[in-house]
Symmetry: C3
Subunit: 279 residues, 3 copies
């Protein structure tokens, strides 16, 4: 069954289960993360007190750690909710925001990687490369490694993603003009999305929360759920950009239309715009 | 004088007083709460440091506690500002977000209820039922008590709300498809609003901040102010949903139109759409 | 070269440099601050952990302190990042949110002023007057000093701004119906903007973040960069208000259109709407 055939069940599971997803986010994008979770058919809970998160996450179906804020009480909450989610078998998604940008931030990342088993790790190429190399040797990201993924170097990037997936046990999602979603055996190359998405804050964070919805409702096929989530979200961006131009809008309008299309996305619309290849 | 007649003075008082309302909120919805306060004609201050909140709340006309974030410094700030508001006679509104969902959260709720006298307590039926039963016996919410309010069980729910109002001294506002606003003697049944409101984060938080504006400007008739606030806000939702459909929008557009109509709401518009009955 | 001639280079520098600006903000407006930074052509980083901010700010070109949240870990982060930015010669912008409103808040303000050299200090007339008088004598703002800036008292206000600039070494930006941007020798009087801007939360915070973008890309002429930033932002407000009326919108639409026009603003559009005089 290919990814387009699978997508019907993936969307249907979200509609049936309406998964409650626990997100620990940050002051910049928490509202966006909650709204995109709702738009795609999930229900967010954003509880973040260390003493409540185990109770809260227990009634959810998935957990998203956005590493935007690395304050101590929040990191403790991430650890407790992550471990509890692992015990319960809930998919746990990691967004290593700013990995490599500061020593303190890196220390937090390694602590999370050591203590929690992730179902998906999603970031841009720099964040993912740092997650891969830093986790082993704690050294910085080499400049040449942080090159963008292009049609020319795609095979190398796919190999890297598969290898990191094998090492971590998580599906690896690398975001950029070309997205790569890979487990150790299979990679999906996705060419949805548009440049305007980098002109709005939180588009990465929102994608990670989107992964939370799709994976929480489809825990038995995380790779396919992640690929459909990334493609659907990117396609929402394309549709939003088109409507922005039609209404003579700017980045404010784009942001709103992105949310609009997320709330309208379904298997039928998805199939009309998804650009996914297998490697 | 019925609620429709009263509504003219209620809106006029907001227009004249332009009440400054102190809100302690959370990272998910603080922006929405501030914007809805402005939209309905108030002016928000969101100060949250324990050492500043007494100074700040003293120059306000009302105080809204949104229990979304229960971090220790924030709870201390809630307590200090709440006690100070009580001394000054300012209306204090409580939104017991997630009451019953975690032990830690319940402990915070009981501490607030013990230390602060509230003018209005607003939540969904589960939160309000937990607030009622938990406050006395610290036991969980029974499943049958958390049933939605419908035309069939409305009398029982009204009785419950009146009883809780008598016990707490606060006007009780239960949100749902059917809203109940009650003091110990009188209940208003409100049938404004629309299902789309549950697809956007913070619509409950924003309603609580709306109550802050209406009550701060109308401290002498909290029950009527609360009923008009709930009805007006719900009617904004209906108007926003209509415009969303007309513009082929989704939840992003709905959220914006909700704010638009809040900023346009006045006594004349209100009378054309309010659906309020007395019990 | 007058300010209109300078504006071409100012916008061009932003386009070429795409400055990364470090913002420490608050839970109410952090999302808006990040989005306006992107809209005007910068790139925001909102890191706020005291142990990471020196690393983060070192790879930026400017730093914005929004004093909305004065929690202890945040103030420590402001101080560390501010001192580091001073060492690196990055423009540092201060928004003394709520200066004068609470003793605790004032103490934080004085601590920041003592430890960090600011390139621009921006606030409303009350905040700036408190910053000026409180910094010397720690006394409150006199009522007559907090009068709005009008065509009648503009000369006095300009004199005050120039004097405060001489004392602090910072360009002083006073926001209101009439804006004053001054160093010790020159003042720009700006009459862009519209009343609707006070109906949306964070319009002051967003202006401060806008100053961050313009100054980070134009560190050699902070005064001109600040004047162009304030005028361009105000003009976006005028354009947004016009579109709001055309679409029969309210404050929600206004907020979105403000962001739209920020993302469309350039030297050509600017010259068609800027209202700047020199004093």
């Amino acid at each position: 069954m290919d990814i387009f055939e699978k997508s019907e069940e993936i969307f249907e599971n979200i509609r049936k289960i309406k998964p409650v997803v626990h997100n620990i986010s940050n002051i910049v994008t928490a509202n966006d993360c909650a709204n995109i979770t709702l738009a795609f058919g999930g229900s967010p809970t954003m509880a973040e007190h260390p003493d409540e998160v185990e109770d809260i996450t227990s009634v959810c179906s998935g957990f998203v750690i956005n590493m935007g804020n690395i304050g101590e009480p929040l990191v403790e909450a991430m650890l407790r909710a992550g471990k509890r989610s692992n015990v319960l078998g809930h998919p746990v998604i990691l967004d290593p925001v700013g990995a490599g940008a500061a020593k303190k931030r890196n220390d937090v990342l390694f602590k999370l990687l050591e203590n929690i088993k992730f179902s998906v790790i999603r970031g841009n190429i720099s964040e993912i490369k740092f997650t891969a190399t830093g986790a082993g040797a704690a050294k910085g990201v080499d400049a040449d490694e942080s090159d963008k993924v292009t049609d020319e170097n795609i095979d190398k990037a796919v190999g890297f993603a598969k290898k990191l997936s094998k090492k971590t046990g998580a599906v690896i999602a690398i975001s950029g003009e070309i997205d790569i979603i890979a487990d150790e055996n299979t990679a999906y190359i996705i060419k949805n999305g548009c440049a305007e998405m980098s002109k709005v804050t939180g588009t990465g964070c929102m994608l990670t929360s989107t992964l939370g919805v799709f994976c929480a409702a489809n825990p038995k096929d995380i790779l396919a759920a992640a690929a459909v989530a990334v493609s659907a979200y990117g396609y929402c961006g394309e549709l939003a950009y088109k409507k922005m131009l039609e209404t003579d809008g700017g980045t404010g309008s784009f942001r709103m239309f992105l949310m609009d299309y997320a709330s309208k996305m379904d298997a039928r619309l998805f199939k009309g715009g998804a650009k996914i290849e297998v490697r």
